[in-house]
Symmetry: C2
Subunit: 100 residues, 2 copies
């Protein structure tokens, strides 16, 4: 995963939007009885509902964001919870500050 791949992941309105939502999940998503506020993240269905694209599209976007290290995924039962990956985000920030 190169820096270019990270920027590609950010080069899409919806994916960028998802990332901003995941910055503050509690203000953008309804609380779940399981997961969200316990730190697992937000499940695919909630994100899909909010961005309004096809389920498969959202699933692919999330796994792309995960592949480039900007979010992490946790499977619990039949749900996959996604949340921001601070390490990946920090690496990106550092790259932008230092290298370009």
């Amino acid at each position: 995963m190169t820096q270019v791949d990270i920027f590609k992941a950010l080069s899409n309105k919806t994916r960028l939007q998802i990332l901003t939502w995941l910055k503050e999940p509690a203000t953008h998503f309804p609380v779940q009885d399981f997961g969200e506020l316990k730190g697992a993240g937000v499940c695919v269905g909630q994100i899909q509902a909010k961005c309004g694209l096809n389920q498969s599209t959202v699933s692919e976007y999330l796994s792309l964001l995960q592949r480039v290290g900007l979010v992490t995924a946790t499977r619990i039962g039949q749900w996959t919870y996604y949340k921001r990956n601070d390490e990946g985000m920090d690496a990106l920030k550092q790259f932008i500050q230092q290298d370009i």
Copy 2:
């Protein structure tokens, strides 16, 4: 010009490379008798020579980077000098720090 457009501009190995070169032009490009060290920037031909792509491609890349505000262009005689645009870069940095 949206944030997404900026990330699109960064989603290419060559354009990202050009931007890092322009961060420190003096260490990446030969000094010119006119322009470069006087602050105008680096001309298209020098950038093209360094990245090895077609002239038209490099010209298009540079004007894209300009359109999204990451570099500025100054025409002097038959040369166009490009340099980093600190304002644009700072706006990007701020966006990344604050919003995602």
